[in-house]
């Protein structure tokens, strides 16, 4: 898989449930970031986790990073209809800090 691959590609859940998305990467990273994109709009930064961190929280978001497995997960708790969007992980490489993007997970929250 390419650097920053998310899975699943699409996820549909009921409002109120938790949503978990995963991201895998290949090379050594400085940090990993999650972004949200509403349909046809720009990307919004959600959270950044550095390579020496294992877990980070922001409101209803929880991100974990496992550098040994080169993977990260984004958990959205108590989902709302407004969380419907595509979620992308982006890895900042250790060598040049360039952000490499995954293909995204399309999340649909059913009311």
């Amino acid at each position: 898989s390419q650097q920053g691959e998310e899975d699943p590609q699409a996820l549909s859940i009921q409002e109120g449930e938790n949503a978990t998305m995963n991201c895998s990467y290949k090379t050594s990273i400085n940090n990993l970031q999650w972004y949200r994109q509403n349909s046809g709009r720009g990307l919004v930064h959600l959270i950044l986790i550095r390579s020496n961190e294992r877990e980070k929280h922001s409101g209803r978001l929880r991100v974990t990073l496992d550098t040994s497995k080169k993977s990260s997960s984004l958990l959205i708790t108590a989902s709302r209809a407004a969380d419907t969007a595509s979620y992308f992980c982006a890895t900042a490489m250790d060598s040049n800090y360039q952000l490499i993007w995954g293909a995204g997970t399309k999340l649909i929250i059913k009311p």
């Binding site: 940090n31 720009g42 930064h45 982006a90 995954g102």
Partner: protein
């Protein structure tokens, strides 16, 4: 809250024409970027710009592309001779310090090449 702005929101051009996409990054940010996203596909890095010069560019960013900061606020992407495959959303972004920091994105310009 400060935000990145982009103009126009939608640009339609004929193949072979030159286009200039405009961006105003957040004023105290030092790094600026252009990305593109072909419909339904992943975000692709084009170029990063710091201290009035290109700091990184991808293989997509060939001689047909150029960037400029013509004054203290605008940051532009020029495509000299557009091709059909240049049709995409183009996003400008900026970050406070280095490339690996969180980036703030503009709403994008949808470029349609006919």
């Amino acid at each position: 809250e400060p935000e990145v702005t982009q103009t126009p929101s939608h640009q339609v051009t004929q193949m072979g024409q030159e286009v200039i996409l405009r961006c105003v990054p957040i004023s105290n940010h030092l790094y600026f970027y252009w990305y593109r996203q072909i419909l339904g596909q992943k975000v692709e890095f084009l170029v990063s710009f710091y201290n009035n010069e290109i700091s990184e560019k991808s293989e997509i960013f060939d001689d047909q592309f150029s960037v400029e900061r013509p004054d203290g606020s605008n940051f532009t992407l020029k495509i000299r001779s557009t091709k059909l495959e240049d049709s995409a959303m183009y996003f400008c972004a900026s970050s406070v310090w280095r490339q690996g920091d969180e980036q703030y994105f503009g709403p994008g310009t949808r470029l349609t090449v006919t």
